[in-house]
Amino acid sequence: MSDLRTHAAEIAEQFSDHLEVTDDEVEDRLRNLVEEYRVPVEEARRSVINSYLDEAGLEREELGRGGNEEIRLADIDQDEQWVDATAKVVELWEPRSDSVAQVGLLGDESGRTKFIAFETSDLPELEEGAAYRLGNLVTDEYQGDFSVKLNRTTTIEKVDEEIEVGDDAVSVEGALVDIQSGSGLIKRCPEEGCTRVLQNGRCSEHGDVDGEFDLRIKGVLDDGETVYEVIFGRETTEELTGITLDEAQQMAKDALDTTVVVEEMRADLLGTYYRVSGPELGRYVLADAVERLTERADPEAVLIKARSI
């Protein structure tokens, strides 16, 4: 019957902030249901919790889930788990919907995870760069990517800790087989917080604006089995192409055409093998580092494989 004892201790712990209950009392109630009335343990547990909730005047959601696991972000691998985490707000993004209060990236030593908080949860705002102990988060999964949702029971406690955000970069290799539209010398919307790339001088949010020049490449790496869409920001684009933003603007001025920049980049880069590393965001790899694969191809290992057929 140590099983019931364990359940009793867990339940007592959950209510410890709200009621005076001892492990023994809880165990008695459980034992009564399970042994006298032949109720399955899970159902008994549920029933006992509900009766204590009534007693304390609490909703199930509000129950301090004392049993939550303090989790490392990179270890999240299940949907709909209640977890606690201590993390730094790495980035805040512009919410795409009115129902979203805040959205962005949380980071801890193990890596980064997207988070979202909804208006209806009515939570205090998180600040970019600050670290928090977050209680009662719910994990979520979309196409294999995990995130955490804040909800109205989430506890937010600012902590005075310097969190070194871990590097959960992926590393991919392949031939650069395409450079997509929206690459080269581009213009971005200058509005505060908006960095959208302009299409024919127009921002999809702010209309006609006087854009700011930037460099980027949306490239496709392909290893013959898998396609990786990679975004190179200004720094990695400059490093990869040897063309600085100033030079690119000069090239465009001389040619009276901004597309000369991407054309030169295509001629330089396409068909060559690269290794790119950086964090994954949705379907993109954001290139932090890029390296051209120049080491001599070694046919030995493949010869051995071929000869064994």
Binding site: G224, Y273, K305
Partner: protein, 210 residues
């Protein structure tokens, strides 16, 4: 995978010229008009796009009214034929400007056409052609040999749908592609890695009969 997902980009398959030129059978996997067309690879695989690196040995404008460039691009096993006209302006202008011989990397789509004698020729409609160096070419040869050997290694696996199709559509034992992969690898092993040598045997220059 949900149905409202953006159609994912087709992978650029790695295949040597000898196998590519044998891939005369094409098919679709859905009835949709815009569904991708795949060439069936004789080693068991499908290719809607290919990436290859070889030596451009000849280029000709074979167009009548408009420019229509044909390039012969040689790898250690045979010759890829690429055709670029007004609808492939970038690739056409690259071919126009290039002086053979040169190492080039090509991304393109397989195309088949029937010849007057009822055979089927396989060619490439390029999306891009770029000049590359010898190290890139050697890397491609090793990579393509590995992909080819992997396909052949999986040829008899249960549930290998494309191998089953290849058995039905082609009467081509896979041994020949193992042999050509091995000799391609040996040619990389022997080369210094910087010579602009055109590999392959004497008849690699002939358009293979399907």
């Amino acid at each position: 995978m949900s149905s409202n997902e953006i159609p994912s980009r087709e992978v650029a398959r790695r295949v040597f010229a000898d196998e590519f030129n044998d891939a005369a059978f094409t098919f679709k996997e859905s009835d949709d008009d815009r569904a991708p067309v795949y060439a069936l690879l004789p080693t068991g695989g499908k290719a809607n796009r290919v990436f290859f690196v070889g030596t451009l040995t000849e280029k000709d404008d074979v167009g009548e009214d408009n420019e229509y460039w044909r390039g012969r691009i040689v790898d250690p096993t045979g010759t890829f034929f690429v055709y670029a006209g007004q609808y492939q302006p970038e690739a056409a202008s690259t071919l126009r400007d290039l002086e053979p011989p040169a190492y080039v990397a090509v991304v393109g789509k397989p195309r088949t056409y029937e010849t007057d004698d009822g055979g089927v020729n396989v060619s490439v409609r390029p999306e891009s052609i770029q000049v590359v160096d010898a190290a890139t070419r050697d890397r491609w040869v090793v990579e393509t040999a590995e992909r080819t050997v992997d396909r052949i290694g999986a040829f008899d696996d249960e549930g290998n749908e494309y191998a089953r199709m290849a058995r039905e559509e082609y009467d081509l034992p896979t041994d020949r592609y193992v042999e050509s992969a091995v000799s391609a690898l040996e040619s990389v092993e022997e080369s210094d890695g910087d010579a602009l040598g055109v590999g392959g045997d004497a008849d690699a220059d002939l358009q293979p009969e399907p």
